[in-house]
């Protein structure tokens, strides 16, 4: 049971988004451009993985499962591999650039001031562009919003992992803007 009467039965963030379509619009448009827009040198899978990892650090069950399933779909790996990356990305089969960006995302999750000049330099040394660093910080910050919105209102999340993996191909095809009916 959510903390407020959302007047709908939709799971996770879609509940408060349907309750408040005026605020859902910019939130979904932000998600669309950050995570799905093709004009980006980070792949959709890499961007979803950043969102998944921050949601995992924030212990948000709904978000880490939705976006973990999305990352797995784009990266053609199963949910066990995504779970292994969440637990320890440093020993995962990821590019050095991606590891440096996940390090920055983990600092953002703690607080903006936890990001260090050394972490930024390391990402640049591994080939990260300014726009990629920008998007990493904003994706991590945006998930600090989404996770708090979902859990701060006590929204309901399906416990079954298949619910998330089954939906991922549809969300990948349709995008975020029309996700709330």
């Amino acid at each position: 049971m959510a903390h407020i009467d959302l007047k709908n039965e939709q799971p996770g963030i879609r509940g408060p988004m349907a309750y408040s379509p005026e605020t859902a619009k910019p939130l979904n448009e932000l998600a669309e451009i950050l995570l799905r827009n093709e004009n980006n040198s980070l792949t959709r899978g890499e961007r979803e993985l950043i969102g998944t990892y921050v949601s995992y650090l924030n212990d948000c069950f709904f978000c880490q499962n939705v976006h973990g399933a999305m990352a797995g779909y784009y990266m053609s790996c199963d949910i066990q591999e995504i779970d292994a990356i969440k637990r320890d990305f440093t020993s995962a089969d990821l590019s050095e650039k991606m590891k440096a960006l996940l390090t920055i995302a983990a600092s953002v999750q703690k607080g903006g001031k936890f990001v260090t000049a050394g972490q930024i330099q390391e990402a640049k040394n591994k080939g990260a562009l300014d726009k990629e660093i920008h998007d990493t910080v904003l994706i991590a910050a945006a998930f600090c919003l989404f996770n708090r919105y979902v859990d701060g209102l006590g929204t309901a999340a399906p416990a079954d992992h298949e619910f998330y993996t089954n939906r991922a191909p549809m969300r990948a095809a349709d995008g975020y803007i029309g996700s709330v009916k």
């Binding site: 903390h3 407020i4 009467d5 408060p16 309750y19 408040s20 005026e22 605020t23 619009k25 910019p26 939130l27 448009e29 932000l30 451009i33 950050l34 827009n37 924030n58 212990d59 948000c60 920055i104 600092s107 953002v108 607080g111 903006g112 001031k113 990001v115 000049a117 930024i120 300014d130 726009k131 660093i133 920008h134 998007d135 910080v137 904003l138 991590a140 910050a141 945006a142 600090c144 919003l145 989404f146 996770n147 708090r148 919105y149 979902v150 859990d151 701060g152 209102l153 006590g154």
Partner: protein
């Protein structure tokens, strides 16, 4: 100096939005609808919640700019903003706002920190579903803005006068997306 190549001399989130207007326009649209759109909370109350969360996140730019906006909106009662920041009792702060600030403070830590008893206490003080929704989303949104501003090391003006101007503009004109100019 910011960590990435943003326009020089432009403070805080404005510089980041000018660097990447495609994401920036949605951030400003969110701030506008959340802080100036329809809500049972007054514009001043919403700015107070935003400032309270930004201060707890140690984001000087967001704290100072939104405190200045709140002082403008509060007019003769502007001391309320300072007393909330300094945790000094002020009878101008309603029981409802006090209860909502408690919830905002928990959201700032993490969503799961919000307990049923916090919700019950806010309802007892007169908060309705919409008050609660808007409070949680404002606190969550500033948990994003604060991280964005500090995570990229954007410029934080040291001159208090700059924030007075910003506060006036935010109170009078709201959140209009900054002009798009290419980074130099």
């Amino acid at each position: 100096m910011a960590y990435i190549n943003v326009p020089e001399g432009v403070p805080g989130i404005r510089s980041l939005v000018m660097f990447r207007p495609e994401t920036g326009k949605h951030l400003y649209a969110l701030a506008q609808v959340l802080l100036r759109g329809e809500s049972p909370l007054t514009e001043a109350e919403r700015e107070i919640i935003a400032t309270y969360v930004s201060n707890r996140n140690n984001c000087v730019f967001c704290t100072q700019s939104h405190a200045a906006a709140a002082r403008n909106l509060l007019g003769a009662d502007s001391q309320i903003m300072d007393d909330v920041l300094n945790d000094i009792p002020n009878e101008g702060v309603s029981d409802k706002l006090k209860a909502l600030l408690t919830i905002a403070g928990k959201v700032q830590i993490l969503g799961k920190e919000v307990q049923q008893e916090d919700i019950d206490a806010a309802r007892l003080a007169g908060a309705n579903d919409r008050d609660l929704h808007d409070t949680v989303l404002i606190a969550a949104t500033f948990s994003m803005f604060n991280r964005y501003v500090d995570g990229l090391g954007s410029l934080t003006p040291q001159d208090p006068g700059e924030y007075i101007e910003m506060g006036k503009r935010l109170a009078e004109k709201g959140y209009a997306t900054p002009p798009i100019v290419p980074a130099t």
